[in-house]
């Protein structure tokens, strides 16, 4: 009995230590441990997982007077963010990888019968639409020079929802209007359709397909292997994100065309996986020839001028841009001029794209104690936004 007792005590100690460890972790700079925790989360039972997203009880902390107060998670998130930045810049610094900045990406969304399954709440389809929306915004944020098109697969047929274009709003609107699922799904049909579109893209553009695949089968009219070879020949990089399990043909497709294949574990993982495709991928070697591209930098039109815009074919009042070559009026940038076909961008767009090639060097972390020191005459406020650097959140 004595032995048993000892084991019991040891067990309790373990428990305490464990809890203590968790508390301490919040203040730590490096978040290696957090990765572990994420893994842990994936091993949880199903009912636990439902609560795992908001672990409201864990974000409480007892202060010195015994009151419960919510912990400020910002510090933690900031640390994670910084770590990611550092990782990014270190890889970029180690090897100057050429990246495709002008991307032509087709998003293929599987709306077959399997998309109606409810293992993701409320259904796979709705969740996918939500992630696609976030993705499209993020994509254009990071790749202002690129274009996206939407394709859906339903009843074994691939349908082009929106042509390649640079306006996030129109894509999102088109997708949300078409959300219902039925029938089988066919990768071959989708690839054929996308191939026809992407084959016309000029050679400097990087052709990509991202398939969000719910189904576990593909019912094809012909030999899909030929289609895959065709895509490979046209240098279309196909990536697949599966929603349920690993399917051989998807893996094969990604391997052949140099894309990535991943399967989502849960909602947050899906989001992560989708957003991974937002930064531009390394360029395919054969593609990486330097090319000169003619671009126009339109000027903002004068306020109060009424003119007919070429994109909506309506008379618009004020705002808008003018194409430097043919003087057409355009509502938003970046785009391709409808009349003369010139690529129209603004210089901030170019600058933002360049960040992928030449990332900003990470800032050095300076502890607040240093700042008050005398020989480092650092300003107390941020020069840009005037926030106080000593206690963030307050403007002096």
């Amino acid at each position: 009995p004595l032995k048993d007792f000892c084991i019991l005590i040891a067990g309790v100690m373990n428990h305490i230590e464990h809890n203590y460890g968790k508390g301490k972790r919040l203040n730590r700079e490096d978040n290696e441990e957090d990765d572990d925790e994420e893994e842990d989360e994936r091993d949880l039972e199903a009912w636990e997982r439902a609560y795992a997203d908001e672990r409201s009880w864990e974000s409480l902390q007892e202060d010195e007077s015994g009151l419960l107060r919510p912990i400020d998670n910002k510090a933690l998130h900031h640390a994670q963010y910084r770590k990611r930045l550092r990782a990014l810049s270190s890889t970029a610094a180690a090897a100057r990888i050429q990246k495709g900045l002008i991307r032509y990406l087709f998003l293929v969304i599987d709306l077959s019968r399997a998309a109606g399954e409810m293992d993701f709440r409320p259904s796979r389809m709705v969740l996918v639409a939500k992630q696609v929306e976030a993705f499209i915004r993020e994509f254009f944020d990071q790749n202002p020079l690129s274009q996206i098109g939407l394709v859906t697969i339903k009843d074994g047929i691939a349908q082009c929802l929106t042509d390649l274009g640079g306006s996030p709003e129109s894509h999102i609107k088109a997708l949300l209007g078409k959300l219902d699922c039925s029938g089988d799904s066919s990768i071959q049909n989708a690839l054929d359709l996308v191939h026809d579109y992407l084959n016309q893209i000029p050679s400097y553009g990087h052709r990509e397909v991202l398939i969000l695949y719910s189904a576990l089968t593909t019912c094809d009219p012909g030999d899909i292997m030929e289609t895959i070879q065709k895509c490979k020949k046209s240098k279309i990089r196909c990536s697949v994100i599966g929603l349920s399990a690993e399917v051989f043909i998807c893996r094969h497709l990604c391997q052949e065309t140099g894309g990535s294949y991943s399967v989502a574990l849960d909602e947050s993982h899906l989001k992560e996986l989708v957003l991974e495709h937002a930064p531009p991928p390394p360029a395919i070697a054969e593609f990486a020839i330097a090319n000169l591209i003619k671009m126009g930098f339109p000027q903002r039109a004068a306020e109060g001028v009424i003119s007919i815009c070429s994109c909506h074919k309506e008379a618009k009042f004020g705002g808008g841009y003018t194409c430097p070559r043919c003087k057409t009026r355009i509502c938003e940038l970046p785009t391709e001029c409808r009349i003369c076909g010139l690529t129209l961008v603004s210089s901030p767009h170019l600058a933002r794209s360049y960040h992928h090639l030449f990332p900003i060097a990470p800032f050095d972390n300076v502890p607040p104690s240093h700042m008050s020191g005398t020989h480092h005459r650092l300003p107390n406020n941020c020069f840009g936004c005037q926030q106080s650097l000593l206690n963030p959140g307050k403007i002096h």
Binding site: L216, T217, T218, D220, A245, E246, V247
Partner: protein
Amino acid sequence: MKFQIEDVTVYFPYDHIYPEQHAYMVELKRALDAKGHCLLEMPTGTGKTIALLSLITSYALSKPSSLVKLLYCTRTVHEMEKTLAELKLLHRYQRLHLGDAARTLALGLSSRKNLCINPAVVSAENRDSVDAGCRKLTASWVRALAVENPNIPTCRFYEDYEKAASDAVLPPGVYTLQDLRAFGKEKEWCPYFLARHMVQFANVVVYSYQYLLDPKVAGIISKEMQRESVVVFDEAHNIDNVCIEALSVSVRRQTLEGATRNLNKMTQEIQRFKNTDAGRLRAEYNRLVDGLAQRGNLPIGDTWLSNPVLPDDILKQAVPGHIRKAESFVSLLRRLVQYLKGRLETENVEKEGPVAFVGSINAQVGIDQKTLRFCYDRLHSLMLTLEITDTDEFLHIQTICDFATLVGTYTRGFSIIIEPFDERMPHIPDPVLQLSCHDASLAIKPVFERFQSVVITSGTLSPIDLYPRLLNFNPVVSRSFTMSLTRDCICPMVLTRGSDQLPVSTKFDLRSDPGVERNYGRLLLEMVSVVPDGIVCFFVSYSYMDGIVNSWNETGILKEIMQHKLVFIETQDVVETTLALDNYRKACDCGRGAVFFSVARGKVAEGIDFDRHYGRLVIMFGVPFQYTLSRILLARLEYLLETFQIKEGDFLTFDALRQAAQCVGRVIRSKADYGMMIFADKRYSRHDKRSKLPGWILSHLRDAHLNLSTDMAVHIAREFLRKMAQPYDKTGGSGKKTLLSQEDLEKVGNGSLGEMLF
């Protein structure tokens, strides 16, 4: 990599080794040192073959004075080729390190069907006709005639091989069957005879079980092997059945009719010889009087029949007087065939022991036990005398003589069962007389006695203590190894209930219950919608599969399944099954997905792999017990109980579970692979059944997965598949080491490695 196991330097052709491979080698080495037999169980996909090969060849290299030779037995030609390919890799590595000291000769030996390069012969459709075609061209009398008359066709490859005589040797190296054929083509030598000749000098021989276990073949091929040889039986979980089949004969009506035809032909031949060449028959008679061994003064190339009984049991006596004359022997055989015909006429099932059967033969047609015993040798001699080359036509009379010799030799461990019709189809008369052997130890006994080390190994040898009893030997080492995995890549589940919570089982009283059939159908239907690519289903028997597929068809479940995946079915026709398998693979490749319905104990369950996407899930519907009303099985069970004290239930469960394990084991063939296994029967949850599964399955069978219903299983499957689809680190990150490099091995030393693992 190169490392030391005790005093042996092991050459291993890969840079890393799995810890269980190392442990396996250590055990094997100890067994070889002890000059004893061993039983080793290690899961498939852990590199058993290469571990075996590299240890035994390294062992032989480290002791150049001893005559350690490796006889490696595989079940199929495909496995033979795979083994030889591994050996080639190993040999190249050893040559790299040891230079010419590592020169070895290794070759595969198979039937003429697989080795012949004469296009006219090899085009024949089955093995027997290729053999006969070869004999027609190469028999000594045919060749003697051809010398005089150039119009008689001979095989040029064989002629060239004979001409080269002692120069016809294989240079050292590793030869697969294909290499042998290529070599034969290049030199214009017959690869089959060359291989048979070279077997005596080879260091490693890879061939099929029959060459050692079937006394008819073993007498010719394997009699010259040294005692120091190491014999390996790979995939040996069914070795007892192979032994039993080697000594069992079944006689049907067609056999007897064929035998009568053969006898007529022989009578004609004898008559012809009497008229033309009476001296030949005379010479044979004289030889038999002298009691010379039949083969002694006949050319060696013609040895194609050997006695079906085991060497120890052959009497070293002269052939009895009254069958020395050709006519009297033929008429005796006629009487025997007539008697067997009479016995087949019976309306009832009869079961007799060999003693009673021989007694009744003696009483009715006057053939005594000793005469029966000589039938086979006498037939052999007669056929050579009569210069019969189309041996495939004479298979029937050979079967009869085989039967006669066996029944005349053994008094224990056999029984004769006559059934007028198949138990399952009582309306169709199909009489069959079976001489069935019950004692697996009979056929394997000479192997254990002749060779100092016999290694029996497979992925499923559980429970490991039963094999020594069945085969009647004492292993010096018997161990079961588990797999070290970087992730839980197998997911066995026991499903006991359908979604409606009613139990599912193929137990006799439950199997035709529509509720059970529906529940099985729903299970499959749910699974096809969550599992990608290929699913394999095993049923307990063909008739059960037919029944349940029919009922699924009627209730529309099959149609719903087809919406998700294509359905393929194994049939008893080999060609059809091969075609179905081909298309199944295609459907898995192109992403359409497919289900394969197969039968436990069938061809597919034994030899076909469903690795990677070809089998993400295997469902075992029911417990594959043998047909327990079969007379042969009952007789065997009785014998086992009497002789080895193995209880009926124990043996049946053991047999059923090893089949089940074999079926589900098809799904995982390497560590990078993953797959699920569902045992769909409530009886699997019982401890006596479950505990007989191999350790590597049991260790992954979690307690929570022991009593599942369909919906729970679907949920687990979803989780499992998502988890497995994530990228993973092959070397196994930080905690568990599953790949050892040379430094690791040196660091831990031999002793402590075992503790680290288990």
